[in-house]
């Protein structure tokens, strides 16, 4: 898939002197759901702000569909819809007025049929003439999505779409995002919930302390996540892995006192029984054993901790 967004060497230092982004390089593919995963303060909102024209980057270059976001801002911005993290709305307006306003602001001629379609899709049609301040939090969130979709963007940014949202609403949000992707919209969402990245994303980028520390296909990440380790405390230390056990993914550690076997929990066979049989045949005995699982959560926490 061709890259639709290309970020090169992007840095942002705020007026306060704080550096929120450090030399970010990132490519977003056409039609994918990309999750930007990172703890609070990692720089997710800043990164989105730089791409969408809300934050002035300190250094770097960003292109969307091959067009520079500064030189060609009209063409670029017409392609992009942004749902901000904060629920910023015109309290005294109606959903109908505000969604039509958004469409106009982005340079599209009025199209009431399309706006109706968007409002219906986000189950806001019944509320179209109510004052926005009378809407619930979930409705306001959907309204912001409706506003972002009003000009038929090809790329949608969702900044923490489910932060502080209950489970049911979260599922509903995920449903909406999937439908949009099915219509060909490229989606970049930020989250600090791992399960959200797991649930939604085609690819995941982990950001911490203003740096992208990992970008991976979600499935690849899940494969890593599916790995489990069996740790055997040996009765007597070994100097090397016996020849009879060469077929297993083994690692000898702790001065030869610990043998670690890595296996895939989702494979048909884990190979544990065979390993233990072969160990007995090779005369290797152990006094204790334990298993360890590295979850995405662990990977995430490890990566983030390393940055601290």
């Amino acid at each position: 898939m061709p890259a639709v967004i290309r970020v090169e060497g992007l840095s942002k230092t705020y007026a306060s002197g704080f550096t929120a982004l450090k030399d970010i390089n990132l490519e977003i593919s056409q039609g994918e759901i990309f999750a930007l995963l990172g703890p609070n303060g990692a720089g997710k909102t800043t990164l989105i702000g730089c791409i969408c024209g809300i934050v002035n980057p300190t250094a770097g270059k960003i292109t969307v569909d091959g067009k520079d976001i500064v030189a060609d801002y009209r063409a670029v911005r017409a392609m992009i819809g942004l749902v901000p993290q904060e629920l910023a709305t015109d309290m005294f307006e109606t959903p109908w007025a505000t969604v039509n306003f958004s469409r106009g602001l982005f340079g599209k001629p009025q199209n009431h049929a399309y706006v109706e379609k968007v409002l219906r899709a986000l189950t806001l049609w019944e509320k179209k003439d109510s004052r926005i301040m009378t809407l619930s939090g979930g409705m306001k969130r959907r309204l912001l999505i409706a506003k972002a979709l009003a000009h038929e963007p090809r790329i949608l940014f969702l900044d923490e779409p489910t932060a502080g949202v209950d489970v049911e609403l979260r599922r509903e949000m995920w449903e909406i995002v999937r439908k949009l992707r099915a219509e060909g919209v490229t989606i970049i969402l930020t989250t600090h919930y791992i399960e959200e990245a797991e649930e939604m994303a085609d690819r995941v980028g982990v950001i911490a302390k203003g740096e992208i520390i990992l970008v991976e296909e979600k499935n690849e990440l899940m494969r890593k996540l599916g790995k489990k380790q069996l740790v055997l405390q040996l009765s007597a230390p070994l100097t090397e892995i016996p020849a009879g056990l060469g077929a297993y993914d083994l690692h000898l550690g702790a001065d030869g006192n610990e043998l670690t076997y890595t296996y895939d929990t989702r494979a048909e066979r884990t190979g544990i029984t065979a390993l233990l049989n072969d160990m007995r045949a090779a005369g290797v005995t152990f006094k204790d054993l334990s298993t360890m699982q590295s979850s995405l959560e662990d990977i995430f926490v490890d990566l983030v901790r390393e940055k601290r």
Partner: protein, 253 residues
């Protein structure tokens, strides 16, 4: 040019204004009319004429200017401050609109509102005092120029302000006093020579004088100078607005 965006902003601002009819239209018109009823009849019974013009009529152009200045600044500053306050400004910043289009939408709407108010006051005034307009074309020119200039000023204030009090400070502490001291209720020529000179540093004098001239062909300063000063002020405001968008001052982090 993103005409749709200008239309969207302009329409949005006008509908907000229309929705609060009492507060945004009736009350400024009413309070301005009270001025010329009270001042016109109270002072008018003592000073019957200024420069051969009936006092009640003499103060009308000044009052219209006063309304125009305060309403333009207030409306335009509120118009742009509100989205900054609620956070909805993110949409303007991420939209394919130029600074010029944003200014056109907000300033255009604010200027339209104050011109409507000014004309309403003029119509109301003509019911009470004998008004004649010697140069309708120039009257409209001054009206538009002033409305646009002070809407620009208001726009700048709305971007500079970081609280609701600051929105009120300039209109209240600067513009209103300058209008009172700028010859709304008197001819500058009625002042002692020293104060006449001081007054020339008050930009509002040029506005009121020029505007009044378009009605009665009497003026405190030369009409050409009035026109020049007003245009100059407009140019300064435009330069500041251009700088704001170029640097993202108070808009972008």
């Amino acid at each position: 040019m993103n005409i749709e965006a200008v239309r969207a902003i302009y329409g949005f601002e006008m509908s907000r204004w229309g929705r609060t009819l009492m507060q945004s239209i009736v009350s400024p018109v009413l309070s301005t009319c009270l001025y010329f009823i009270v001042f016109g009849s109270a002072i008018g019974s003592r000073i019957s004429q200024v420069d051969g013009i009936d006092y009640g009529a003499f103060i009308v152009p000044g009052l219209v200017m006063m309304l125009l200045l305060t309403q333009s600044t207030l409306n335009a500053s509120f118009g742009i401050y509100f989205p900054r306050f609620t956070g909805t400004i993110y949409e303007h910043l991420s939209a394919p609109v130029s600074a010029f289009e944003i200014v056109l939408g907000y300033v255009g709407a604010a200027a339209t509102k104050s011109v409507i108010l000014g004309l309403l006051v003029l119509v109301t005034a003509s019911l009470f005092v004998p008004l004649r307009i010697a140069h309708p074309f120039w009257m409209i020119v001054f009206l538009l120029l002033t409305a646009i200039t002070f809407s620009m000023l208001g726009f700048i204030i709305g971007i500079w302000a970081d609280g609701f009090e600051k929105l009120q400070i300039i209109p209240l502490l600067v513009i209103t006093p300058l209008t009172f001291l700028g010859g709304t209720f008197y001819s500058v020529k009625m002042l002692p020579p020293f104060w006449q000179t001081v007054t020339l540093f008050n930009p509002v004098v040029y506005l009121i004088s020029g505007f009044r001239w378009s009605f009665f062909e009497i003026s405190d300063v030369n009409v050409g100078v009035s026109l020049l000063m007003t245009s100059l002020f407009l140019a300064v405001c435009m330069a500041v607005a251009w700088w704001i968008f170029r640097t993202g001052y108070r808009l972008k982090a």
